[in-house]
Structures are given as C-alpha cells and as structure tokens.
Amino acid sequence: MRKEEIEDIEINLLLQGIYSRYGHDFRNYARGSVKRRILNFMAKVDQKTVSGLISLVLHDEAFFEKFVRELSITVSEMFRDPEFFKLLRNQVIPYLKTHPFIKIWHAGCATGEEVHSLAIVLKEEGFYERSTIFATDFNDSALMNAREGIYPMERMQEFTANYQRSGGTGPFAGYYRAAYGAAIFDPSLRKNIVFANHNLATDGVFSEMHLVVCRNVLIYFDRNLQNRTLKLFRDSLAHGGVLALGSKEDLQFSEVAGDFKILDAKWKIYQKTSI
C-alpha cells in the first residue's frame, strides 16, 4: 500500500477519535486542506506519523486545544474582495435600511477581520446603531482574538488599500490606534457585536436574521456538510433576508437553490424567497 493511502487511514482514525472524544466534527471537511494542516502541525510538534499524533490528541486536552486551533483558524483580511464590500454598501444596506432594526449573523468569523469590516461599513452608512451582529465561530481562541480586535500593524497597508477600494468614506487610520506594533481597533465597532461559540457542523439555527454573512467557510466542507449549513442559513433567515457567501461558493447545485434568488451572481449574494 502507498504511504499516502496509509496516511489517509490514519487521518480517518484521528478525525473519528476527535469526534468521539471531544465532539468536534471534522469528518465532513474537504480532506485536502485538513491534511495539509495536520501535516503542518506534525512538523511543528515534531511528530513523524499521524498515529503518533492520535495518542497525544486523545490523552492530552491542552495539546488538543493547540491542535484544534491549527486545524480551524482561517486568517482572513479586512475588506477582502473590496468589490464585494462595495456591493454590500451600495446594494444590500439600502435594502436593509427599509427595516427599523436588523439582525445580522456573521458565521465563521474566525479572528474577526471581516466582522470588523462589516461594522465599519454599517457605521459609515449610518445604520450601525440599528444593527445587532452575531459573530460566531466554534474556535474559542479565535473568538477571543476577534473580541479584542487587535491585528498586526504590518497588515494595515493592505487593509487600508482594500478599504479605500471598497468605497470607504473615512480615513481608515481613524478606526484604530497603533501600539506596540499592533493596530487596536476601536471598541465602539464591537459595541453591537455579540460574539458567541457556534459550530456549523453540529449546532442549530439562529432566528429571524436579516443578513447572514459566511464567506469562504463552505469551501472547507464536503457536499453533505455544505448542504447542512446552507439549510441552517435558510432556516435562520427571515423572508426576504440576504445571504452573502464567498465568491467561489455557489448555491446553484445545492439543496436550497429553490429557496433563494440571485442578487449578484459574481459575488454570490442571494435573497431568500421561500417562507
């Protein structure tokens, strides 16, 4: 048997073991990226085989916490896909403003770069005070970072360029202060954000959302888990609510395709039409 095939068996055992031991379910994740992250982690902790990792993960909870962080964190960027944020500002928010008060679910917020971007757009459009944002992730240490809103100073140049191209109206530097090589984002951006632990693979719906944002999370899931998650979003949205996915994440071939109409085909913005 090829070495890769044996490794595949080991990874199956590892993911099954994690599920039985801790309830975290990575079994329906797209395997390519999961494997890459496992191998990266093995190199860091100097383990030669996945089998060696299994024993440590099952018996040492602190070690598992380290591992799950490696397995789940996606470092995003602020205003990734500036054109998307421009659409959000110019097309989606004017529609949302027809409601007196709105609820937004930002699912899979990781370390919070995108939810801070969303808060900035809402503020500049004068709608932040009428919004509540639920920002969720299943990774507690990522959520902690998101709650702090502190990002490396060296990324600000990239974030600023993205912000300007997204149609931002203020000086971007007005949203953070620099200290110790870090950019600390203004707490007023997080005033209406509720950070909470939620696992898309195992947890249930949020109720009556007007906007669900979940970008570049579904690409890490297999078809089954994608469908489960999309149904969760459908059932969490109010009638007429808006769903924003990543630019490579398409509803077209999913089980909820009939429940939505397309608002923007390129940037994968959909509106719920079913009751």
């Binding site: 890769e4 390519g32 078809r223 490579k248």
Partner: protein, 209 residues
Amino acid sequence: MENLPKNEHLKFDLYKAVVIGVSAGGLNALKQVLALMPAGFKLPVIIVQHLHPDQDHSMVEILDRCSALRVKEAEEKEPVAPGLVYLAPPNYHLLIELDGTFSLSIDAKVNFSRPSIDVLFESAADAYCPGLIGIILTGASSDGAAGLRRIKDGGGMAIVQDPAGAEYSIMPSAAIEATEVDYILDLQGIGKLLAVIGREKTRELKTQN
C-alpha cells in the same frame, strides 16, 4: 529536437494528469506550451500561475484563444475532467481531493503565494502519483520546488523548463536544485513531449476499447 526523450522511456498507461506551476513570465510561456498541445489531448492539465489577487478572467480567455483545448478556471467541487486545461482562481489555493475533484482554500500564503504551486502539486501527488506529470516553468520564486520533489518521490515524472532559456530562471533552477528531474527542456520541447504523451494515450485508449 535531439533532446526529446525516446518513447520507450515513457510509461504511457500510467499517466492520469499534468500539473504546471509558473510565475513571472507565465503568460508567454503558457501560450507557447498550450499552443503545441493537440485537440483530443487525453489528460487534464491543471495550472497554478501566480497572479495578483484581483486579477480578472482575462488570462483564462487569452489562453483559451491560443489553445486547441478548452481552458477554464477550476471551480470548487468540480470533477477534474480529461482534455481540459484548468487555471487556479486568483487569491485561492487550489487542491485536488482523492476523489478527483477540486477544492479551494484561503489558508495562509505558502512561499508568499496564493495560489501556491506546492499546495497544488502536493495534493495532486496524493491523488495521482505515480501517474502524475509535474512541470515547472519560468518564475522568480522558489514555489513548486518542494511540490515537484513530492511528485518525483511518489514515482511521478518531473519536467522543468531549461533555466538558460527561461524568462525568469530562479524557479526552474530552484526546482532542479531540489529534485533529480526527468527532463530539462525548452518550451517547444515541453509542448512536444506533452503532445507525444497525449497521442500515445489516445492510441492506448483506442486499443483498450
């Protein structure tokens, strides 16, 4: 083409896919190679070309116009089909799953690149080796060197553009440094070698039927 390999050295029945990694100078190099590949080429060709994150689709369109094969952007969960040329989308890593479908990720850059050649090559090695042909063309980066070694270690074939004639020699040189490659050829040689492999593959499939 005195340095073209003899056919008996090639294990035609083995090959299932071709992966190409290319960076600076890539558009011209890919145009030349793809122009030499005949219609009816029986393997999928999967390409990572380093691009600016906001690059539009013009690269796909340009390459599609100069190739007899259909060139398209690889889509998430799309099954890899023979005879098509796929380009990784800008700002995403492109991977191949064991079931022969594409997947994408926004994981951290690898070798300062997303998409990264190493990420494609390593996942493709898992999916296809020993039946994988890996090719490194012009570029000013060392991305792809580790991936090409993985392909070679898995029993696949490693081809590198001759650094002497490459628009940027750093990437081909890094690949040659890291791996005992099977062929070092100019762009014409690479195109012709692929055409030979494609033709033999067709003959073999006909014999099987």
